[in-house]
Assembly symmetry: C2
Homo-oligomer: 562 residues x 2
């Protein structure tokens, strides 16, 4: 029996790029249902329901994102899919650890259900560390090993999400032992998060069965990880010319994936999704075929999805049509056999997590940084932020204390974290240095990973106003920069997602970013910078609702040094 | 917590070769139980139950054979493991389709049970084509789709074995449709066998979900298969300089495996197992790191065994110690955490398949090639064999017929196939050309894949004697070359395996090979050449107990052309 006589969709006149051999071969691609039925000699007569003229175009497999968080886009799943699918991202493995830290198992179930409505193929990782650092922060929910074991059986779930509490794994803490054991018993993949972990500690992490990493490492540590079979998942900030040239010195080029991890709506709309990461990789000096494999074959394999990542008969008809391999911007995308059409922006219908910010509006007293210290000058531990990445360094700031209140205004910026899930009234503060900021503040309920209400401010008045605006909108991000109107992006879904269409959220996010810039927060990724000062698994010093954390030691950092 | 304080086994002073990066890194390898516990800085103090001094040696992962048949060694599984494990083969995926063609499900169960006693890690493929070509040959057993579905659930079974009836797949025959569907429903891998299948036909085979091939292809077809994501499994005969240099021209080097497929005991003892294939690959021009990956990482991945193929903490302690990467001969092997020790040759205890040759001794009449043709000269279809591979070409031989009997003696060699499973009395004959043979014969019950009693002879007397000796030994191989004593290797286990120790079988097999050579059967792999003239899925013309088969058309070939 020769080739089939009919198909649902025929892509005519293209050249198919093989991710296995790198060759480009002229072929007409016949699609039946959601599968590639055949690659035909160009011009083969076949009865086709729909024909796409792809003369002069390349056909590559749909892009697969092996590590990402939909919440980082600030969009509900269907809106996320609507703007990323035309960018070529036909499959994602999403780890919804932001919303699950706020609203637990119900939030995970809701995300999966929302994803079912999307044309994009959504697969799910169960968040492994809720909260990220047990005992060091207060999240809205706690997932036990038993919860996780149960959720790993849910339909659509394939992976244990990034095991962020890497020090606890290395140190053999009971929580992580139990969670890792639960996942291993299910036979799922265990994804990692272990910035610059190396040597014996890295060995212990591998011993636990965790064999991927998407964090930023020095080129030497990245190579050490690859050497030991840990799959590198390279996000934008990892794609430095230093890493690319270091990889090129190796006798064998290790497989790796390109991933988005955290991309906000405006970044996606303005620059792209995996296609953007691909261009960054090419710009950093990577060979386009290597990039293509890292977008398709390797992540599909990581996800255990042998049915995709390759253009061949029998595979899923997830296809991207490109003009050339220098640019990864799709001319057209086919997902599950269906051409991806432009679809209408949609407002989320129904928000089960509308009431997630359990805080009363602040009065002036509520803004005071009170301490149990005598009057006089004291040395406080500060977080030093930088314009490039989300790591902080420990710094020192001398501030006067009067009547038990730190007199910070006019002397430093401060970071404050208000526990917002359980009405504990708990609040912590610490100085922040690194940027030249004018009068103003940024408050956000989107603050990794516990998503307590977090505010950075240079004046008490701005702090109070930003916080109260965010409380009033049931979550969101608000920037107040001197002289400007407040810029406010509501995030009423658990305080981490918008219920609005992607384009509107993109504009809102861009406005927040611009306002931060005007304020003086000049960072390559201001969103991540602002929202990870509370992430106690990201080196080196972070502030949670319970205090300052020295991340690499997994220990408390004293707030006052004298 | 730093590195562990104790381990069961420590390999000191070696350099570990990374299959991911190709680097060699000095490290002491600590093993606990059957796992690699840690890679330690050289000289780290650790309490070790046993220490191996590996100063100056390399450590690489144990070799994994992704496609092979234990029966080809003529050895029972434990004897096979005993001689291949010291060669570095720590894991095999065995497809027992030879013995299963004789004795069905019981034989498969017996092989698996035998394998459980071995230190080598044995995994199993269910033979997909029993018989190889439905309707064209008579095997001892028939496996239905229901049988296969059931066996795919057996402990230790991971794969549907090579789908040899590739024309039936391409043509959509009911048997293969059902078997393929059964395997796909189980989610197992489907291994292929499709020599030089290409174009639309190859597309149909891939469409069925079969995505590997271990047969010999032209370099162009091999590349076509790789391009479409079919995993190439390269056995010795595939490893030609032409293929190696063709692969080197590709923009991307596709992953492939090195496999043994069919190696007889003497070949293993004299030349090696996967280590031998590796040397052949290097000799054909392959880079040693590419070879190493094709022995370890890629086959482990194919088998879905993420726990091996890499030397790293948490992986199985299947390790090979080498002097250098130019030669793959192990200095020492560790399998499942245990150093592989020399062990005593063993005679099989218990042979449930001793009575498998259901034939009475031949008398002179039984040797006659009777035909329904008038007296005179007739043109007979012959098989032309060659000294290099197992393919045949159609040839013609003119022979006189007298009183319904073909007068072949003195004019040609003949091949005869005696159905031996069901006492049908069926027998077929055809001329064989290609070698200059003296007076003699070779008879064998090991004849792919139905393993009917097959004899090639130049005289009637030799034919008869060789056949009768094999019947008397309940199976085996017997060569009679003019002037020599008969050389006879009994194979009393289903007529395909010896019950004797490997070294004895090796000597016996070598003696058979030498006798064949003396007789004039001068072939690179005389065993395979002799035993595949009956294999109706191996191009181009083969003889079964039912007649001549034109393989590429999956059709009967007329025995008489005029």
């Amino acid at each position: 029996m020769p080739a089939p006589s009919h198909c649902d969709l025929l892509i005519r006149g293209a050249r198919v790029v093989s991710v296995h051999t790198g060759e480009q071969t002229a072929a007409d691609v016949a699609v039946t249902g959601d599968l590639i039925r055949a690659l035909l000699r160009p011009g083969t007569q076949i009865d086709a329901g729909h024909v796409i003229d792809a003369d002069g175009l390349l056909v590559v497999p749909g892009y697969v994102d092996a590590h990402m968080h939909i919440e980082s886009s600030l969009l509900a799943p269907r809106e996320f899919a609507r703007i990323t699918l035309p960018r070529g991202t036909t499959t994602v493995l999403a780890d919804p650890h932001e919303i699950v830290n706020v609203a637990g198992r119900e939030a995970m179930a809701w995300m999966i259900e929302q994803g079912r409505g999307a044309q994009q193929s959504m697969h799910w990782a169960v968040p492994s560390c809720v909260p990220a650092l047990e005992g060091f922060e207060t999240a809205g929910a706690v997932l036990s090993a038993a919860d996780i074991a149960d959720m790993l059986d849910w339909d659509g779930v394939t992976t244990l999400g990034e095991v962020m509490d890497y020090r606890a794994v290395v140190d053999g803490s009971r929580r992580m032992r139990e969670i890792v054991a639960a996942a291993r018993a299910k036979g799922v993949r265990l994804d990692g998060h272990c910035p610059n972990l190396s040597g014996d500690d890295l060995g212990e992490y591998l011993w636990a069965g965790i064999d991927s990493d998407h964090t930023k490492n020095t080129p030497e540590v990245a190579v050490e990880k690859a050497r030991l079979g840990m799959l590198l998942m390279l996000q934008e900030k990892c794609l430095t010319p230093e890493l690319v040239s270091r990889l090129a010195t190796l006798p064998v080029q290790p497989d790796f994936c390109l991933v988005t991890d955290d991309l906000a709506a405006d970044a996606i709309v303005e620059r792209g999704h995996l296609d953007h990461i691909a261009r960054v990789a090419v710009g950093a000096g990577m060979d386009p075929l290597t990039v293509l494999r890292a977008l398709t074959l390797h992540p599909a394999r990581r996800l255990g999805l042998d049915d995709r990542g390759v253009v061949a008969p029998g595979r899923r008809a997830d296809l991207v049509l490109l003009r050339d391999l220098a640019d990864f911007t799709p001319v057209m995308v086919v997902c599950g056999g269906e051409p991806v059409e432009e679809s209408a922006p949609a407002v989320l219908s129904g928000n089960p997590f509308a009431d997630s910010v359990h805080l009363d509006p602040l009065d002036t007293d509520g803004c005071a940084w009170t301490v149990d210290l005598p009057d006089g000058e004291h040395v406080f531990r500060a977080l030093r932020v930088n314009p490039v990445d989300t790591f902080t360094e420990p710094a020192e700031v001398v501030l006067p204390v009067r009547d038990g209140v730190v007199q910070w205004e006019g002397r430093t910026a401060v970071l404050a974290v208000f526990e917002r899930h359980h009405r504990s009234g708990r609040r912590t503060m610490a100085p922040v240095v690194g940027f030249e900021l004018s009068e103003g503040a940024v408050a956000t309920t989107y603050a990794h990973d516990s998503h307590n209400l977090t505010v950075t401010a240079t004046t008490i008045a701005a702090l109070r106003e930003a916080v109260n605006r965010v409380i009033a909108s049931h979550g969101g991000i608000c920037v107040i920069a001197a002289g400007d109107e407040p810029v406010h992006l509501p995030l009423p879904v658990a305080g981490v997602l918008s219920d609005r269409p992607a384009e509107e959220v993109s504009h809102g996010a861009a406005a927040i970013r611009e306002a931060l810039h005007r304020w003086g927060w000049v960072h390559r990724n201001a969103f991540m910078s602002i929202s990870t000062m509370t992430l106690p698994v990201s080196p080196q010093v972070k502030l949670t609702d319970l205090g300052l954390v020295r991340v690499v030691d997994r220990a408390w950092e004293p707030a006052v040094l004298t």
